[in-house]
């Protein structure tokens, strides 16, 4: 993503503060009535939960904070939500869609 430094895999944990690199665009596609993630030669199709998580990935909030926000909203245990979104964000980090 342009930054200098060692090329190592990003590992997502509850303490990670994920964000999307500049060249990854979360965009609402009005014509198709859905959200899309635009990446080099790729389009990702996020569901409502993924969109909500990614909107909260601002590089400031930790994954655990994001889980707390969603826990209130969905009235579900925060640690279960954290497990779910860590798996999702790890997958996206491996695809270069989020960094931490």
């Amino acid at each position: 993503m342009g930054e200098a430094g060692p090329r190592i895999r990003t590992i997502i944990s509850g303490e990670s503060r994920p964000t999307m690199p500049r060249h990854i665009k979360l965009r609402h596609d009005a014509g198709r009535g859905r959200w899309l993630i635009l990446a080099p030669e790729r389009v990702f199709d996020p569901d409502d939960i993924a969109v909500e998580v990614l909107k909260l990935c601002d590089g400031v909030r930790a994954v655990s904070d994001i889980a707390d926000v969603l826990a209130k909203e969905y009235n579900a245990p925060s640690d279960e939500i954290a497990t779910d979104i860590i798996a999702m964000l790890q997958d996206l980090a491996d695809k270069g869609v989020v960094k931490s």
Binding site: R7, I8, A30, R32, P40, E41, A50, K95, V97
Partner: protein, 414 residues
Amino acid sequence: MNDPDTKHVREETITLDAGEMRCESTDPSEQQLDPSCARAPVGLLAELTHRCPLQCPYCSNPLELERVNTELDTEQWQKVMRQAAQLGILQVHLSGGEPTARRDLVDIVRTASEVGLYTNLITAAVLLKREQLVELKEAGLDHVQISIQNTDANAENADRVGGYKGGSEKKKIVAGWVHELGLPLTINAPIHRYNVKDVEAIIDYAVSLGADRVEIAHVQYYAWALRNRASLMPTREAFMESAKIVERKREELKGVIVIDAVVPDYYAKYPKPCMGGWGRGIINVTPSGRVLPCHAAESIKGLEFDNVKDKPLGEIWLYGQAFQKYRGTDWMKEPCRTCPRREIDYGGCRCQAFALTGDAANTDPACSLSPLHDEWAKVAEIESHETAPDFIYRRPGGAARKPASTKTPAESDA
């Protein structure tokens, strides 16, 4: 939310390289908001010019290259970008030939970016200057893809294949600028018999150049590559070895670099879903403004191509004869018509079906269900084990010429 295995993000791939694009666009039936937009292609391949300083013998441009005096002007390209965004296209791949040979590239990128398109520059990089890259970034360029022929340790081999002395060194310098400027970088490496053994080194080289993504793109044998097939085809054994290396490197470099691989369909089990289905995911505009369902479509006789100078892009996409002809599955003959895979691979490549059977509606011989398959697959087996003939380099009028010498040729004046 309770199932940790829930997949919240589905991936759709649009790979552009020496002859193949795959794309899974949205299911048009699920959207009612704007019927034309819901059916829009995801990607626009904008071939800004056929001029190119390199002369790669596997070039995916047609054998009949379009001349500079037929190229669309700046305003016409800008109009294409606006129409593309309006139609619902999401990504534009600025390609060629060599797109940086156009002096107005920055203006075209700026317009594309302003109208919300994701802009991807597909370049050989040898003409780029640092300040140009800065300007392109400021104009909103989202991503750079640089093609390489081999690693810098194999520069001589690379420059011979590209037909451009010093090309390998220049590409390395430009890749460094791209990285410095914080632009995301993909390295695209077309693979053939002269570099199939270097796949691991090429992947490691892409990492060292700061790339986020590398395409190990086995040459697709159309156009110039078909003309040079006997010079380029790797053996089945060499291909299988390279495929194993890709699998291993994917595990090893997980989270460091994304590795995409394109298989030579001579060695594949099923045909590729060429263009993700004809007239479905990708639209191609040639330097002179002709609108094609794929960049090789002009090789098929009997198709009529509209021009953006005469009609809006959206109208051509929806109603153009060339797009309607092989869109969907109604045009199919047996064995495709009743095949359970008909909406997975769409019967393969229409251009290849036409070139080898004389009818583009026939099954692509790459499919094991084609009656021509065995005979066709044997060609690769035979050619790859014979002494390679000299390259016929990609030059205006070059396809008809005698093969060039195996030495690095002088620079093209194209």
